[in-house]
């Protein structure tokens, strides 16, 4: 393959990142800036960050689980349940720890089911999703309630002249970078996802996979806190889209669903691309239903371009 071909069509072996998503993202940006006057306005850029921040949070967690050959379908229901807990009539220092504790327990249940009882990740997280969604609808049957003003301020204000959604995004990225690319745990994630032999080299497979699921749920809870601050109330269905969206974003970013190959920057590009497409279609007044169709079509295309060894799940 020619040099140009290598750059454009071959994925980096560890990161799996193609140049194509990056190019598509840049083209989207340029196209939208040209097509709509509002695109580069300060308000729209801020909206873009506010839309992307929760997706980035959920996707980082999703990527950590996918790296160890897993999948977490319960993230969306954790987001919903978190907004439900935060909208309860209680002070912040009770609701926020309660929400994080809930997320840790959900992650622990996922992890224990997958590692101890060898339940397939999809089945395990699907059933836990049902339980968590049920709990979310129990805590808050329909959208409503009020979230403490501290959380609203944490999301909508400014700090040192920087808007809060931007700060959330940066903190999420730094945190994700530390975990995935700058820690022993991150290296172990790649090793476990890469092959069957990780255990032979003294890597505690079970413990690390368990930690991956707990982290994924906690990231989802953080996204829930952000969203609760944005809408200033609780909503049992606000998280529904995040399971599919986060998988789409992670897959777009070159992370292989078979595990062991992926990167944080790839996931960020995937999130950015997905948010750009959604934002652009909103600006161009595309129907919400067509947006769903487009999202599904992108997911199909990306997945069809990721051939694997095994057939099936």
């Amino acid at each position: 393959m020619s040099k140009v071909g290598q750059i454009f069509f071959r994925a980096n072996s560890r990161h799996g990142l193609w140049t194509i998503p990056l190019l598509v993202a840049i083209c989207c940006c340029a196209g939208l800036a040209a097509a709509t006057a509002d695109f580069v306005s300060r308000q729209n850029v801020l909206n873009l960050f506010a839309q992307a921040a929760p997706l980035i949070l959920v996707s980082i967690g999703q990527m950590i689980v996918i790296l160890v050959k897993g999948l977490d379908l319960s993230v969306g229901s954790v987001v919903s349940l978190t907004t439900g807990i935060l909208s309860l009539n209680a002070p912040v220092y009770v609701t926020v720890p309660a929400a994080m504790l809930m997320a840790a327990v959900v992650g622990l249940l996922n992890g224990v089911a997958v590692t101890r009882f060898r339940v397939h990740p999809i089945i395990a997280t699907l059933s836990i999703m049902g339980i968590t969604q049920g709990a979310a609808m129990f805590v808050r049957p329909s959208a409503g309630g009020t979230v403490a003003s501290e959380i609203v301020a944490l999301v909508s204000g400014q700090l040192f002249g920087i808007y809060m959604p931007v700060i959330w995004t940066i903190v999420a990225i730094l945190f994700g970078w530390k975990i995935v690319h700058a820690s022993r745990f991150g290296l172990h994630l790649f090793a476990i996802g890469g092959g069957e032999t990780a255990g032979t080299f003294g890597i505690a497979e079970r413990r690390n996979v368990l930690a991956a699921y707990v982290l994924s749920s906690c990231f989802a809870a953080a996204a829930g806190i952000f969203l609760a601050g944005r809408i200033a109330s609780g909503d049992p269905n606000i998280g529904t889209q995040y399971a599919v969206d986060s998988i789409t974003a992670v897959a777009l970013g070159g992370t292989q669903l078979a595990g062991g190959i992926g990167s944080l920057h790839g996931t960020l590009i995937g999130c950015g691309l997905l948010s750009l497409i959604a934002n652009g279609m909103n600006l161009l007044n595309v129907s919400a239903f067509i947006q769903t169709v487009v999202k599904g079509a992108i997911l199909l295309l990306v997945i069809a371009l990721q051939p694997r060894k095994n057939i099936g799940l």
């Binding site: 009882f117 769903t292 997945i303 069809a304 799940l313």
Partner: protein, 314 residues
């Protein structure tokens, strides 16, 4: 000791659905003895016929180590086709054939992407599902669609010796599927892929083709389920909960078919009946929607853990 452990193993071999079914039946008998007559139980069974037919496809797909999450989208699309009035002047048979064709086509797309492109089945069928749902909602444009032709409803309400026609149809379909899996070469292929895909491949089993065919059958079954579902509600609807897909997976696992287990029809069949009883028991006990979700999730998890333990002891 040996006799006890072999007894334990024999107990493990019974699908959990049978145990759950007996427990639920006894619960209902204690709570509402007057419900224990064939006419009422037949009506309960009739409500889960669409689920039961989806499960017939799902068990094939799950047994060949894949999964089909697109049933909801197919049901929505078929329901829209029938109730939107687009085909109002058409006679019954072409409508039915068109709907079955839709199911076949979606199943084929799923199958080709999963089998030939080797894409992840969860993602493919999930994506197809959201594409179909988005499409139908866009076409329907938020309006509830019109009426379903009267023939459908008449057929649905038919009863033979107090047994509702849809239930008879379901039992017949399950019988055909069971015989097909037992007799045909395709059934053996599914069985061997379920046991071990690698050794199946090296034994000359066409793994790709079998997975594609399993997905096509699953799509077809979803379309058949959609026809039954549509005739049951008599008017069009744009809302079908995703719970149908989740329940179909739950019933399949409850029936003892998990990834890499040989396909078996009657275990999941009883699993679907469990759901019929479960809805009734929970409704009589006043459990609301959140409680139902939690119970369903718990059932899937426990059944899967049960099988995880069993595969570990083997």
């Amino acid at each position: 000791m040996t006799s006890r452990s072999s007894l334990f193993r024999a107990a493990l071999r019974i699908p959990p659905s049978c145990i759950v079914f007996v427990v639920l039946l006894v619960t209902l008998w204690v709570l509402r003895p007057n419900m224990m007559n064939p006419a009422i139980l037949g009506t309960f069974a009739r409500q889960v016929v669409p689920l039961g037919i989806v499960v017939l496809g799902q068990l094939l797909v799950i047994s060949s180590r894949s999964i089909d999450l697109s049933a909801g989208g197919i049901i929505l699309l078929v329901n829209y086709l029938i109730s939107s009035g687009l085909l109002y002047s058409w006679p019954l048979l072409p409508i039915v054939l068109l709907c079955l064709g839709v199911g076949l086509a979606v199943g084929l797309v799923n199958g080709l992407l999963v089998g030939k492109r080797r894409a992840s089945a969860v993602i493919v069928t999930l994506a197809i599902n959201i594409v179909l749902i988005g499409l139908v909602e866009y076409l329907a444009n938020g309006k509830p669609p019109g009426d379903v032709p009267a023939e459908f409803h008449a057929l649905y309400n038919l009863r033979f010796w107090t047994i509702p026609a849809p239930v008879m149809f379901w039992i017949a379909l399950a019988g055909i599927m069971s015989a097909f899996l037992g007799v045909s070469v395709f059934g053996r292929f599914v069985w061997s892929i379920g046991s071990n895909p690698t050794s199946a491949h090296f034994s000359g089993v066409p793994v790709e083709r079998t997975v594609v065919i399993a997905h096509v059958i699953s799509g077809l079954m979803s379309a058949v389920a959609a026809l039954v579902q549509t005739s049951s509600i008599a008017v069009g609807s744009v809302r079908f909960g995703p719970e149908l897909v989740m329940n179909s997976i739950a019933a399949t696992i409850l029936g003892g078919v998990v990834f890499g287990r040989p396909a078996e029809v009657w275990g999941p069949f009883v699993g679907v009946l469990c759901f019929a009883l479960l809805f009734v028991v929970m409704t009589t006990m006043g459990v609301q929607e959140p409680g139902k979700l939690i119970v369903q999730g718990l059932i899937i998890l426990l059944a899967a853990i049960f099988y995880g333990l069993r595969s570990k002891s083997n």
